[in-house]
């Protein structure tokens, strides 16, 4: 209505849906001032030698040079890569398989769905603590199996520097796959019954129907899931703190923890900002091409 105040001429483009635009002003301001502003501020200060308090004395790329010389940062990046790749693959595969099983019109589906989703209701800190206890050699899985008679059984991933990151991965999968399963299940329910009937009439085996027909049709769901998992991977922090606090030694450090430790414990804001800028760049490298394909060129969406 407000858009037609300019008389009988063509409605002003800017004034169309004015109510909606006014309503979204706070969100736009938040996004621009807090997210964008904060990001730019961080990047600018990453070129300074700020210690405990931000200070504008520029030192060029010094902070970045130190960052990429620090063994701890390199270990962190490597851990994030391992953790990221495996948690992406496993949570998608396990989540989808669970959803497909759940979709077979089984009994008590509600109950199972609740059980699977339950871990997701816990915070990362609680998940981390639970798994810290389960994986503790003195009173966790190892001691249970040993008390059953397998004396030489060893399973202590959190105390072995070579495999500690997989111990963290187990906890992450335990927590995350339930959500993935639910998203996938929603996607599967969105597939028209007729497609299944047609596939059955044509005599296509069920697994083939899933892989060649159903999954391509669930593209949207997969992309949503991918974004949710990926953002969870980059920011992994609390799980590590609760399970190992980066140990043994520095074997399970992750970038987010490096940022926190150097910003607040080492009182070196510049170094922390440089590390967080590197994290931003990583995310940008993943998100930008995808966003371009999804929303940009061609508009050839299915």
């Amino acid at each position: 209505m407000a858009g037609y105040t300019q008389g009988s001429g063509r409605p002003n483009q800017w004034l169309r849906n004015l109510n909606a635009k006014i309503a979204s002003v706070p969100m736009i301001l938040t996004a621009v001032v807090i997210f964008l502003g904060g990001t730019i501020w961080t990047v600018v200060y990453s070129f300074t030698n700020s210690k405990l308090l931000p200070r504008l004395s520029f030192v060029g790329f010094d902070q970045y040079e130190r960052l990429w010389d620090a063994p701890r940062w390199l270990v962190s990046v490597q851990n994030l890569a391992i953790y990221g790749i495996f948690s992406l693959i496993f949570s998608l595969v396990i989540g989808f398989v669970l959803a497909a099983l759940m979709d077979q019109k089984i009994r008590f589906e509600n109950t199972f769905r609740t059980i699977m989703l339950y871990p997701f209701a816990l915070s990362f800190i609680v998940t981390g603590l639970v798994w810290q206890w389960l994986l503790n050699p003195e009173f966790g899985i190892q001691s249970v199996v040993r008390s059953l008679g397998w004396e030489s059984f060893t399973f202590d991933p959190l105390y072995n520097a070579n495999i500690v990151i997989y111990g963290i991965l187990i906890a992450a999968l335990w927590q995350g796959t339930g959500l993935v399963m639910c998203l996938m299940l929603a996607g599967l329910r969105g597939i028209d019954e007729d497609i299944w009937k047609a596939a059955r009439v044509d005599g296509i085996p069920m697994w083939k129907t899933y892989i060649f027909v159903v999954i391509p049709m669930m593209r949207g769901v997969f992309i949503t899931t991918l974004v949710i998992i990926a953002s969870g991977i980059v920011k992994v922090y609390d799980l590590v703190v609760a399970q190992t606090s980066g140990g043994p030694g520095i074997a399970s450090e992750v970038p987010a923890k490096y940022v926190y430790d150097y910003m607040f414990q080492a009182q070196n804001l510049g170094q922390g900002f440089a590390a967080s800028t590197m994290m931003l760049i990583t995310v940008a490298i993943i998100i930008v091409p995808w966003a371009y394909l999804e929303f940009g060129g061609g508009r050839k969406r299915v």
């Binding site: 210690k51 620090a70 414990q265």
Partner: protein
């Protein structure tokens, strides 16, 4: 009449809290949460409450590394507490420079802190540009080796008298299923143990050259190479310590599951709380029994600048009650640390504390690494040593090269 007396009663009811308002509630944050520490901090609270004010305890669990960021962000974020613990030295340096902390020079001159605080380096660490910004409460020294007499008895060897004997006894301990040296997983423990080894093996002057003058050539030199060799021994001996917190590691010594631990004198509070006696149940070796030198780092209280006048007054009361001779004795006996004033009577002190007092009186002291290095260099050092102690594939030579780099870049 009735109404009038009722009104009078109401008036007194309103007036009473106003009259008592001279006394203020002061929130004090600290990271003293283990058993012995909590008992000690209760003494400080008692002394402060006796001045008519009220101590609001703001303990933050999880040791200094967790607590300091919270404290600093409260001060910089405009929600300062009444007083807060820091290790005196450089941790609060920038907060002072930014004008966020309160100048205590008035209280200090009135109460003659300059004359009573010994060694003087403690007050120097509180002084920035000639003004005093903190009240030291205790001296903590890192240079102690705590040994479990029971563990050595089980292993059938004599309780060692110095580091070398301890290293030699390690195989016997291992054979008895005892971890020779307990080193908890928190990064600062590994870094601290190394600093202790450095004082014991390379001596006071080398320590001062490396951490005081930041001389990278000395850090890369043969003296420090010896220290890394000893650290390599320590690494081998610490294998199998699957605990995180320092007091859990101390507990391994108390229960005889570990032979010994390199830890500051705050570990003593844990032994006392467990009802153990110095000399019979456990043995303490200052300077690892090699070089009887102790560092004089410690804890101090800093006071953020507050607008509320009542609270500012209470801050002064707290500052002077912290240095009161009676508080000093009560607090330090529970804490296992040494008092900051030389004129108090510590007749109740146990063997280990007396050893410490002796060394202090002889003046065999050095500054702590918190006083010499910035938090940034300390963190880098922690990263290096937590990695070194956990990962046997790093050679002492490689580690020394990285150590020299850190010293070269330190400010």
């Amino acid at each position: 009449m009735k109404i009038r007396s009722f009104a009078a009663m109401l008036a007194t009811a309103v007036a009473l809290p106003l009259g008592a308002a001279n006394a203020a509630d002061l929130e004090v944050t600290h990271w003293w949460t283990s058993g012995g520490e909590a008992a000690a901090v209760a003494e400080l609270a008692k002394a402060f409450d006796a001045t008519g004010n009220h101590w609001v305890d703001g303990a933050i669990a999880g040791s200094g590394g967790t607590a300091r960021p919270i404290m600093i962000s409260r001060i910089t974020g405009g929600d300062p507490m009444g007083a807060t613990q820091f290790n005196h030295g450089r941790q609060a340096e920038e907060l002072v420079q930014a004008g966020l902390m309160r100048d205590l020079t008035d209280v200090a001159t009135r109460e003659k802190w300059k004359d009573i605080i010994k060694p003087a380096s403690l007050l120097d660490s509180c002084t920035i540009d000639g003004k005093i910004y903190c009240a030291p409460v205790n001296i903590h020294s890192w240079q102690w080796l705590w040994l479990s007499n029971a563990a050595f008895k089980t292993a059938g060897v004599e309780v060692p008298k110095n580091w070398d004997e301890f290293v030699a006894a390690a195989p016997a301990l291992e054979k008895a299923g005892i971890v020779p040296l307990a080193v908890g997983g928190q990064p600062w423990q590994a870094a601290g143990a190394f600093d202790v080894l450095m004082v014991a093996i390379a001596g006071k002057d080398t320590f001062q050259k490396v951490f005081g003058d930041k001389d990278e050539d000395v850090a890369a030199g043969p003296e420090i190479a010896k220290v890394f060799k000893a650290a390599d021994d320590a690494r081998r001996m610490s294998k199998g310590t699957n605990v995180q917190d320092w007091n859990q590691a101390t507990n391994m010594v108390i229960t005889g599951k570990a032979g010994g631990q390199i830890m500051g004198d705050w570990a003593q509070g844990e032994f006392a709380l467990a009802g153990q006696k110095a000399g019979t149940d456990y043995t303490c070796l200052p300077g690892l029994g090699v070089n009887e030198i102790i560092s004089t780092g410690g804890d101090a209280f800093y006071f953020p600048l507050l607008k509320d006048e009542e609270k500012s007054k209470a801050q002064e009361a707290l500052a002077s009650s912290l240095l009161d001779p009676k508080t000093q004795v009560a607090f330090n006996l529970k804490k296992g640390s040494l008092p900051v004033r030389g004129d108090v009577d510590l007749a109740a002190a146990n063997d280990c504390m007396k050893k410490g007092l002796d060394i202090l009186a002889k003046g065999n002291v050095i500054q702590g690494t918190d006083q010499l290095l910035s938090a940034d260099s300390q963190k880098q050092k922690e990263d290096l040593f937590s990695e070194f102690f956990a990962n046997a594939s790093i050679t002492p030579e490689d580690a020394q090269k990285r150590f020299a780099d850190i010293i070269a870049n330190a400010e």
